[in-house]
């Protein structure tokens, strides 16, 4: 098997728009190394094919948003909304992620090896997010489908107004949001967490010892008798 030589794109030489055009014009399956990203925003967005992209350094906001089938590695920190509305593929952040990582993603997998800030997985619609460290407040607010695995601790109001999405936490939870509750861990849950840990390359989580948090489904239907309590 031969490994394709990586195309190198230098952010010191090209604008964000030029880099995104180059990425769009590459053959599916290409290997790309993006150097000197220096915190730039909106790189590698809306790519509808498989590309293997590595960012050699920290990046700005909205990296990898709307992509369908990419594989992205960010060697460093990333700004707001990494993998926002991801459709399919794998994004890995080796450092910490700023807020709303993986917001509204429909599919694929987002791995954050460090901590993820507030609103991680807000309005998640599918796919999986695995965070090796802690997540911030309001994570998974109104998440509809998909999974969040938290290797560390969770902040305030975890899983507020959840729908069918499920959260697994290895550490502590500062507080649960409205309508979120702890549930029994089933064998299927352990399998899901084991598989996700394998994809994320996390060996610090014991799948049988995580906490499962899901919706109590008390907010699904309006209850006229509780009108004063909402």
């Amino acid at each position: 098997m031969t490994v394709a030589a990586a195309t190198v794109l230098d952010c010191d030489q090209r604008s964000v728009r030029e880099i995104n055009v180059e990425l769009r014009n590459l053959e599916p399956g290409s290997v790309v190394r993006i150097v000197n990203p220096k915190g730039r925003h909106n790189l590698a967005v809306g790519l509808m094919k498989h590309l293997d992209i590595t960012f050699a350094g920290s990046v700005g906001h909205y990296i990898g948003g709307l992509c369908d089938g990419v594989q992205i590695q960010i060697d460093g920190f990333c700004g707001w909304g990494v993998g926002e509305n991801l459709m399919n593929g794998l994004i890995r952040v080796t450092g910490n992620a700023s807020e709303r990582a993986g917001a509204t993603a429909h599919g694929g997998t987002l791995v954050v090896e460090g901590d993820a800030a507030t609103r991680t997985g807000i309005s998640l619609k599918g796919g999986a997010i695995a965070v090796g460290g802690d997540v911030g407040d309001f994570s998974m607010f109104m998440a509809q489908a998909g999974t969040l695995l938290i290797g560390g601790d969770a902040g305030e109001a975890l899983g507020d107004s959840l729908y069918e999405a499920v959260i697994y936490v290895a550490g502590s939870v500062k507080s649960l949001g409205s309508d979120a509750r702890h549930e029994e861990l089933s064998d299927d849950d352990v399998t899901t967490v084991t598989q996700l840990c394998a994809i994320a390359c996390f060996d610090h989580i014991e799948p049988q010892n995580v906490k499962r948090i899901a919706s109590a489904k008390q907010l699904y239907h309006f209850d006229a008798l509780k009108a004063q309590k909402y």
Binding site: G39, S58, G79, A117, D137
Partner: protein
């Protein structure tokens, strides 16, 4: 929007580069606010019993040498800015002479003006400055007029400076309370209220961390605040934290900015611990 930056040096060997590093950070944040910009530089601490007055002329030309000699002061020019070094208690006299005192303190110097960061940094020759910490701001005006007085940093008490991204909603009522307690305001700006609140609390015995807790209780709104005193550097955000913030902690410095791209030229940034500060948590770094 607004862009904020700050650099708190832990390694004295970096002090000659402070102005250059801070200027580059602020210029990176230019497109977060086109209206005005400014910096506060902490360094060259004056002897006990003396005070530095960062001054701005409010009339066409000021003979700084004459002003200094009349006040028994020495002065240092930094581009269009002048810093007088003299005994405390000169503010009223200078203001009566058509000179705006932008800051006072034993370490701080503030330079701010309407215009883009690159222009303001050049005008006050910021890149050549040395020092042990600095903060900067580029403004997209929301709560008050685009004037030099309404520019950040706001320095309302000796050696205290505040820059702010966001806006407060209840600041007029807090301002009324502070006025009743003797604080005099220069502008209608919301950040001046925050700065005076912190300064008031600190001048009544609280440390910076406790003063910021009072601010969290009294002021409502959205904010990422960066504050500095003679020896401290602090970051605090509101509970929702919709305004961006990034902190980098390195063996040689602590840096803070609205966005990571402001930090990219700092030495060895790839080996700093970079993270988003947690909402409502008060981060304070102190010089030894």
């Amino acid at each position: 929007m607004c862009g904020i930056v700050g650099l708190h040096l832990l390694d004295g060997d970096l002090e000659p580069q402070l102005g250059q590093l801070l200027s580059a950070m602020l210029i990176q944040m230019t497109d977060r606010g086109p209206d005005s910009s400014g910096v506060a530089i902490y360094g060259d601490v004056v002897a006990d019993g003396l005070l530095k007055y960062s001054c701005r002329a409010q009339r066409d030309s000021v003979d700084w040498r004459r002003v200094a000699s009349e006040c028994g002061a020495t002065y240092v020019a930094h581009g269009d800015g002048a810093v007088l070094i003299a005994e405390p208690g000169l503010r009223e006299r200078l203001e009566a002479d058509g000179i705006r005192v932008v800051s006072t303190g034993s370490a701080v110097e503030v330079f701010k003006e309407v215009g883009l960061p690159a222009e303001v940094v050049q005008r006050f020759d910021v890149a050549s400055r040395h020092g042990y910490q600095g903060i900067g701001h580029t403004r997209l005006a929301t709560e008050s007029a685009i004037t030099t007085d309404g520019s950040h940093p706001f320095s309302t008490h000796d050696d205290l400076c505040v820059v702010h991204n966001g806006s407060f909603s209840n600041y007029f009522s807090v301002k009324r309370d502070l006025e009743a307690m003797g604080e005099e305001f220069l502008t209608k700006n919301d950040t001046e209220v925050a700065a005076r609140l912190i300064g008031y609390e600190m001048s009544h015995g609280r440390d910076l961390g406790d003063a910021l807790m009072v601010l969290q209780k009294q002021l409502d709104g959205f904010y990422t605040l960066l504050c500095a005193t003679e020896n401290q550097f602090a970051v605090v955000r509101d509970a929702v934290s919709c305004k961006p913030a990034v902190v980098a902690v390195h063996d040689r410095y602590v840096a803070m900015a609205s966005e990571y791209r402001a930090l990219t030229e700092l030495p060895d940034i790839d080996n700093a611990k970079v993270f988003e500060p947690i909402p409502t948590e008060i981060y304070v770094w102190s010089r030894p």
